[in-house]
Amino acid sequence: MAKKDAPPRWDSGMQQRLARGEAAALGELYDRFASLVHGLAHRVLGDEPAADALTREVFAHVWQHPDAYDPRQGPLRTWVATLTHRLAVRRLRATEAAALTDGGAGSPEELERKVRRASVAARADFIVHSLPAPLRAALELAYFQRRDYRQTAADLGVTEEEARRRLRLGLQLLATAHDPAGPGAPPPGHKGAA
């Protein structure tokens, strides 16, 4: 996606405009990140109204604390995803804990397992979303369209060896979602593997 490769200049420009209180900047921020935020929120919370509410919370947070983001720390996109992840996991834990004290079924261990599973799933979504387009295209063909790697190679116009490499590298990157990193760890770099 072209959006992903927007220069960091866009990030710092956006941060300054938000800090200046430009409503048009808030609109542009929403247009760029709403589907990412809502998708991650939905993956963690598994519920449409909760995802809507969390999306509202995320954008309100960014708008009310424009200085919380420092462009030197990395892309705005990653920062927004990390914030979403953190707030979503917090909300899930709070809802589940409330259900537990209300005498709902389950145990604190199950709660933690559920939170961890949701957290990994959301991290995986973000990784897939952030994969370089050639890797994502290969995974999409092989997984969602059930093409074998030879067909995938033909569809993409690459060698069979390259198709095998992309599928393996894509999964290796995706597998890092399981690594014990902090919630919403930034996506892994795309170099140095395989």
Partner: protein, 397 residues
């Protein structure tokens, strides 16, 4: 990638030394692990990989890891983000921290309609961009149309939005191709012609980036506190007529909605009308433009001559038609019939037309002929006919 470097392949290591059977080399089997985990290799290759895993700890470990990763692949979530969510979220943000540089109220319909169309474009498939669309409008006494595609419609919107961009001092998306082509239709044809290939989905990004630039620019120049009441410096020439900036942006919001409906029809998606207050502004703009169009049609011999018994001077009350728009966003307008400068007057009401708001907009967009418009009518039939035809003549390519 998070410090997990693969062990370097051991030189000369082959699958047969591991598994005791002839087969592809270790490196080849290893390169197959991704495809294997996705069940995307041949049965023979899968069997060879599985046999190899029994004897190669590194590969076995990676295989487990990749299989687990496959379990994390899900179809993307929430492709259909509720378009109304944007307005609700932005409003709630602005309540918590008011904007120092607000989007002017008159630019809000354009901001909302472009966002709604963009959300539709986000959802459609690649092939949908080439779905045929027939642009329809009304010319003189008859319906006119022009064939294009979904991508062609976005190119059309971008070309005509470019008129506003130029008036604001922004770059013209047509660049040199714009010379000598001041009207929306001529600009669109020029853009389509100048493109080396028919437009594709790649037109979405420049269209969207221009819509953002327009909202950003009018916010900075026209939205400062109090400036809402000051006259706009800029007018936007459409080649033949011009509109004040705020009306031009309202007109562009209207066109954006109308063409979003064209696109939604072409790809069989549902599409709602604009928010009532935005719809109201669009109807109001059309109602304000009617007297001028009526006079133009009269000059061209397309409408009955004015029948004022006395000369109607500008600002004086004149013979009027009551336009009653039903539904959300509706209201009542008195349209002066005999001179654009006259003031609509209830005392001089000679006819009454009642119409649903969305239906009126479809008439003004040329998507509905005056004959088809199911209007409740009372009074002077000639005046009613003239006004309905004038409404249809508001449309253009």
């Amino acid at each position: 990638m998070s410090g997990r470097d693969r062990p370097a392949p051991r030189p000369g290591q082959r699958a047969d030394t591991d598994a005791g059977a002839p087969g592809p080399a270790h490196d080849v089997l290893k390169s197959l692990l991704g495809a294997w985990a996705l069940a995307a290799c041949s049965p023979g290759e899968a069997a060879a990989v599985e046999e190899h895993l029994g004897g190669c700890g590194d590969c076995a470990e990676e295989a487990l890891r990749l299989r687990a990763a496959v379990g994390l692949l899900h179809p993307p979530e929430s492709l259909d983000l509720d378009p109304g969510l944007r307005t609700r979220i932005l409003e709630s943000c602005l309540e918590r921290r008011p904007a120092r540089v607000p989007v002017p109220a008159w630019a809000a319909p354009y901001d909302a309609e472009t966002a709604r169309l963009d959300a539709l474009l986000q959802d459609i498939r690649d092939s949908d961009w080439h779905a045929p669309v027939r642009l329809r409008w009304f010319e003189g006494e008859a319906a006119a149309s022009r064939r294009t595609t979904v991508a062609g419609v976005i190119a059309h919107l971008m070309s005509v939005d470019g008129l506003v961009a130029v008036a604001l001092g922004l770059a013209d998306p047509l660049a040199d191709a714009a010379a000598g082509r001041p009207t929306p239709a001529a600009r669109t044809e020029a853009y389509w012609r100048a493109a080396p290939r028919p437009p594709t989905r790649s037109v979405r990004a420049p269209w969207r980036s221009q819509t953002h630039a327009l909202v950003r620019t009018v916010s900075r120049t026209g939205g400062a506190a109090g400036a809402d009441d000051s006259p706009e410096a800029a007018t936007v020439p459409y080649g033949g007529f011009e509109l004040p900036l705020r009306d031009a942006l309202l007109d562009r919001a209207f066109e954006c909605w109308v063409h979003a409906e064209d696109i939604a029809d072409a790809v069989a998606y549902p599409y709602d009308p604009p928010a009532p207050r935005h719809l109201h502004g669009m109807i109001d703009l059309a109602a304000r433009m009617l007297p001028g169009v009526l006079a133009e049609r009269r000059r061209a011999g397309l409408a009955a001559p004015g029948r004022a018994r006395h000369l109607v001077t500008a600002g004086a009350p004149g013979r009027s038609l009551r336009l009653e728009i039903e539904g959300s966003g509706g209201g009542q307008w008195l349209i002066p019939l005999d001179a654009p400068g006259a003031v609509g007057s209830a005392d001089h009401e000679v006819a009454h037309v009642a119409l649903d708001g969305v239906e009126f907009c479809h008439l003004a967009a040329g998507h509905l002929t005056p004959r088809e418009a199911a209007a409740g009518q009372r009074g002077d039939r000639e005046a009613i006919r003239d006004v309905l035809y004038a409404a249809a003549s508001l449309s253009r390519m």
